[in-house]
Amino acid sequence: MTIDRATALDLYRVMRRIRRFEQRSTTLFGENKIWGTIHSYAGEEAIAAGVCAHLRNDDWITSTHRGHGHCIAKRADLGKMYAELLGRETGYCRGRGGSMHIADTSKGNLGANGIVGGGIPIATGAALTARQLGTDQVAVSFFGDGAANEGTFHESLNLAAIWKLPVIYVCENNQYAESLPVGKAFATDDIASRATGYGMPGVNVDARDVRLVYAVAGEAITLARAGGGPTLIVAEAYRHEGHYYGDPQQYRTKEEIELWRVTFDPIINARAWLTSDGLATEAEIDAVDREVDEETEAAIAWAETGPIASPITPEEIYASY
């Protein structure tokens, strides 16, 4: 699949936006402005960017506790995201949800999810809606390697396969389920081969290169839109940060982290191919970086001026009571 200049630059911009969002979230957390916990998506940007580039606003996604990247790739407003992390009324969830529950239903984002594997059946149900209403919408469920060992994974993939639902399951193998390395959680090194057991295509893709993710996702989404049913995509990535902000990471070495951060960085890689393929100059890429940094600071500034979350009212808990 050839990628034109505009698409290539957009993929880069989205990845860079995610990375910057995470960097600044971390500093805000360090300044005690963010409460609770956050989980960085740094290193995995190519997955959200490469998949969501094919989605329309009326397509759905379900996300994970590590959800900032999916949210941004689904074109969320950075200011409303930061406002949520800062517990403001102007946040996506009015300060009720925080990092692990950001949703933007106007863009089809059915929410980050604090339960591992919790979003998988929900995306399956969204795809069922498309089927029932006869639309060509698709649903994408993002989840980690850890979730691939949850019951929801197995039940949902089977259901989608027997009903040929327009859903794409994107397993983000970032090498660790919290602290458990994939080698200790799977007796196979080919997670995508599980798809065969459910009767759907399964594809492994190297998420160091956003072009590869973009290509594989494009095929799966086209297939789903045309009524061809679900696909399992397993994207190989590396989680640059700990499971959560402040994770002491006793389960992996500093040497491993330093090496993999450099060798497994989709943004560094994207810079290389953008220039080597003549799609953009270093100066043009630097300009994107500057624009992203500026919009991020503007988003934070806007978020910090928002009013704190208002008191809870009963109609938030029940639509009617």
């Binding site: 009720r96 949800g97 929410g111 999810n113 399956t124 149900g125 009617s320 009571y321």
Partner: protein
């Protein structure tokens, strides 16, 4: 389903078989396999699919064959369906009905006979409905399907055999409204589900002995019709709560506490609870009968209360 094409039904054995208790019999022929979706045995998968479908515009009715199986689906009920609206700052609606049935009395033993309504009343964001009569079953189910919140609709397996008048055509019983099934002046019996029938039978016996019991069928546990309970207790000055679920942590404690907090000075006697014995439901018929309140138990405790 005739009036709203967004409604679909999902569950195990619900199509040709008509459901384990024949509740969906005939629906497949009328509405076809796209709207009467028989599923594999995948409780969390189908409840979760119901949550996703509800979030995106459908009105799914998902059947859990036994409430005892709800543990297999509990995350999607509790962490997802119940909380999405709140967690997302009001962006979401989850018009999902989980239809299921519970209760003992058929020799199905411990894993197919529990009364677990208290679990669900403890979750903010869920509504809990338990019909006792055929007419209420129809009217409450219609209301539950039209409601924009997730509803646990809990039937009782022995009530499927009961008969009663059912209004033809449109019949909607609003959620959160209790029904005074029998007027009385000497004590208030608050109950729900199958125990409503037991309480009415007990009230007839009590009447013969000169005790005039009022029987309130809650119908909805959440929302709770607090006013109906308090008004009745202020009239009769005595409260007896009866339920099949075990007493410890049961919803009867909520009713008794409500009355103690709000109407203590109106009471002539401490509130009483008559509930299931704190045991898994046993198999043998005589043992099974012995662990849930029977008509004669209600009569006995009611007499103690007014005596």
């Amino acid at each position: 389903m005739q009036r709203d094409p967004r409604i679909l039904v999902m569950g195990e054995d619900i199509a040709e078989h008509g459901g384990a208790f024949q509740v969906t019999a005939g629906l497949l022929a009328e509405f076809g396999p796209d709207r009467i979706r028989q599923t594999p045995i995948s409780e969390i998968g189908i409840v979760g699919a119901g949550v996703g479908a509800a979030l995106t515009g459908l009105r799914p009715v998902v059947e859990l064959m036994y409430i005892d199986f709800s543990g297999l689906a509990i995350d999607q009920i509790v962490n997802q369906a119940a909380q999405n609206r709140f967690m997302f700052g009001g962006q979401a609606r989850v018009p999902l009905v989980v239809r299921t049935q519970g209760g003992s009395g058929r020799g199905n033993a411990a894993q197919h006979s529990k009364s677990l309504e208290a679990w669900f009343t403890h979750v903010a964001g869920l509504k809990v409905v338990m019909p006792a009569t055929p007419a209420d079953a129809k009217g409450l189910l219609a209301a539950a399907i039209r409601d924009d919140d997730p509803v646990m609709f809990i039937e009782h397996k022995l009530l499927y055999r009961t008969k009663g008048p059912v209004p033809e055509g449109e019949h909607v019983v609003p959620l959160g409204k209790a029904d005074v099934k029998r007027q009385g002046s000497d004590l208030t019996i608050v109950t729900w589900s199958r125990e409503v029938l037991f309480a009415l039978e007990a009230a007839a016996t009590l009447a013969a002995d000169g005790v005039d019991a009022e029987v309130i069928d809650l119908r909805s546990l959440v929302p709770l019709d607090r006013e109906a309970i308090l008004a009745s207790v202020r009239k009769t000055r005595r409260l007896l709560v009866v339920h099949e679920a075990i007493k410890r942590g049961g919803y009867g404690a909520e009713i008794a506490a409500l009355v103690a907090e709000e109407a203590f000075d109106d009471l002539d006697a401490p509130p009483r609870r008559l509930a299931g014995v704190e045991t898994p439901i046993p198999y043998a018929a005589h043992l099974e009968r012995g662990v849930v309140p029977q008509v004669e138990d209600i009569v006995r405790v009611a007499k103690e209360l007014v005596g």
